[in-house]
Symmetry: C2
Subunit: 488 residues, 2 copies
Amino acid sequence: MKQETEEQQDFVKDITKMSDDFDRWYTDVVRKAELADWSGVRGMMVVRPYGWAMWEAITRAFDDMIKESGHENWAFPLLIPRSYLMKEAEHVEGFAPEVAWVTRAGGDMEELEEPLAVRPTSETIIGALIKRYIQSHRDLPKLTNQWNSVVRWEMRSRLFLRSREFWWQEGHTFHASGQEAMDETQLILDYYRSIAEDWLAVPVLSGKKSPAETFPGAVYTLTVEGLMRDGLALQMGTSHYFGQNFARAYDISFSNTENERELCHSTSWGISTRLVGALVMAHGDDSGLLVPPKVAPIQVVVVPIFRDAESRSKVEGFIDGWARQLKAAGIRHRIDWRDERPGDKYAHWELKGVPLRLNVGARDVDAGQVELVDRLSRERRPLPVTGIADRLQTELTAYQSKLFARAQEFQRQNTFELSTLDEVVAHFRERAGFVWATWCGDAECEAKIKAAAGGVTIRTLDPDEKATGKCLVCGKPAKYRVSLAKAY
Amino acid sequence: MKQETEEQQDFVKDITKMSDDFDRWYTDVVRKAELADWSGVRGMMVVRPYGWAMWEAITRAFDDMIKESGHENWAFPLLIPRSYLMKEAEHVEGFAPEVAWVTRAGGDMEELEEPLAVRPTSETIIGALIKRYIQSHRDLPKLTNQWNSVVRWEMRSRLFLRSREFWWQEGHTFHASGQEAMDETQLILDYYRSIAEDWLAVPVLSGKKSPAETFPGAVYTLTVEGLMRDGLALQMGTSHYFGQNFARAYDISFSNTENERELCHSTSWGISTRLVGALVMAHGDDSGLLVPPKVAPIQVVVVPIFRDAESRSKVEGFIDGWARQLKAAGIRHRIDWRDERPGDKYAHWELKGVPLRLNVGARDVDAGQVELVDRLSRERRPLPVTGIADRLQTELTAYQSKLFARAQEFQRQNTFELSTLDEVVAHFRERAGFVWATWCGDAECEAKIKAAAGGVTIRTLDPDEKATGKCLVCGKPAKYRVSLAKAY
């Protein structure tokens, strides 16, 4: 085995370089790292185990958060009668272009009396159902969630980011007061920020959406937005406050403490498998993925190195000696005994973005250590096997922090302050990133930004700072400090 | 508060008695214990949190089992092109009458070129896809699973047991040899038996299905069947061996060690939300549910009893003193501070089948104890609060065993040995249960049993015993010892 030579080369082959073509790089990595593929059914993807395991880690984390604060999981029907969908005008207008319709069923493919929508989101069916379970103020708040997939008939497809089916959670909550519902909307946004930053190691901007970007039927929408390595923003989760819009359309009311009927105030919110795309695009490099340890299906890979049966047996006995400690400590690991050359294995696990690799050869056995290589620095360091599980836990925690710090630094370097539309247009002609500017709040000015700067949109309204100065477009007094970006 | 009187009465009102009308009892319990409801969309149910939490406990248990043995979760598309479905003749014939079809999509509800089935099960789409990921014998076995919902256009609906949408896992595996695939089919059946018996406390018969009851496209089907309290059998999980049928239809092949192409051998298997219906019908009584602790959303409910603010405060301080121990021990519990009378609370939690109830009044505080009532015996026993978490764990384990023992005893008392069709017909005219008999293996005789005994079917072929004697119908030498029952 030509071990030395291989170890010195760049291991990953056959993926487009990120710097050459980010979009092709993304698709190459998603497919070759075995996260997902197109399915043969137009616009619909198949998520493979390595990608699905990341989503499972996210679902577990978020499910724990919402259960801790009293939310409960339900299962609402997949198919929604057309008449339910029609009740909230703005909502139906927003979703109608994306709906897939079940029109026939049974042995003779008989036509249904009423077409059924494959849910694009469930506000309407939940609205129609939940009123059964809400009579009195004592039944509130009603904090519902479900884990499911939804179908939206998108025309432009992109694995994880935009496909005709995606997997998500959708929370729908009902409250006795507007304030309580607004607090809920914010609570969930905080959870989403935690999922993005603490779990996916992606720093986010958060805040309200502009009216043009608000969810159909909502009073306002809150969002968390991450920055991908091509400088484009990605919406990573949204939380909507509906006021009484849906309660009015579906007659969801309760008797208050004075025994009068009142309409509920409601919210909805979701994160989806899009987050797997986010972690690819926020951390990847020319060699492939870098997966944050907290959501990594494999946190540590062990690559045994040997020349003959004797050294193999020596290395195997050594690894057996401590591998069960990793299992006992809950470290997700894999020992790669496949019949391949070490260099090919290194390339394979680098492409898949496994945070830590342990190379173990006969000399390591003699020294009672392994060679630790992390995916980010790629430096080789000896790691004693005494107390190896604890040491690896420490390394994984440090690695998670380093990935986050790197992404924060990237975000910092790609965030700018500009004052006029001309500056914004010039900026986005040259580069991308987040641009902070001030805006009067007028929809016309918002449309002008989008038109002039090639699709640049307002991503968030800064929740913390009152705007001073003038609107970047019309020059009138500004109402909001806003972040602008090109987005997926 | 008229505490004494209330405690002496039968707490649960407003559900039909099991002995009066089992079917109405079932629906009453499922709805009033807040497990599920019909949704307003014909034949489709909504699963409420208390029911869904039971399903989540089952999914967690089973997911752990299959992951431990190397199975991986995927997400395959919801919609399946008609042409995919058509490739395996027996399979399409079996499912065609139950398919819901998406025929239109998008803003103008434009007609699709090819109708898409809402998956009734995923053999066909997985068959069409998986061949990409199987090249060589080194890619085998391929052990896939997914958690999802499926749609089957059933005409007769019943909550959990038969609805147009249900939630399940579907495993689909691909192997290099028939033996390995058959071993897989059996391994999963053993898991299903464990879910039924160790988790749901429902003893099951297991074995092969007769050809008439075999899954469309399978070589054979294995099943686990439980006995409900009305004496009817319920199929609680099935595991199918396909031989090379699906591999042939979808061209799923691999190069073997001699570098020749060979067709894979495949399996599929599933358990569904039907299991929630099973635990209702296998353990319930006139007062409602009895939920096995292992899947109980609430294992212990605490009912504080007090007359005035002073005694309330005393009781509250006492409960606060040890309640966090329950949380730390992972005991799923609820302290019922609702503004209701104790008797109404008892009724509520009995209906919901919470295994253990702790009544806590002022005198209990003085004695440093609580009053323990289990849902099965309803006997009141003092339980010291010293080490209460450990004591409750012991009680929960014992309760799980008692429920299982009771169900075993019920099964034993409702299992019979008969020799002739006349006896079978006479038996099922009077009562239900499992009947063991011997059968020649002929489909005609099987059909005669069903016709003569009012829908009685062969549930399992005994895997352990070779049949001796004669076929109960034709009198020719018997090939199989079979269990017969009326079934859901």
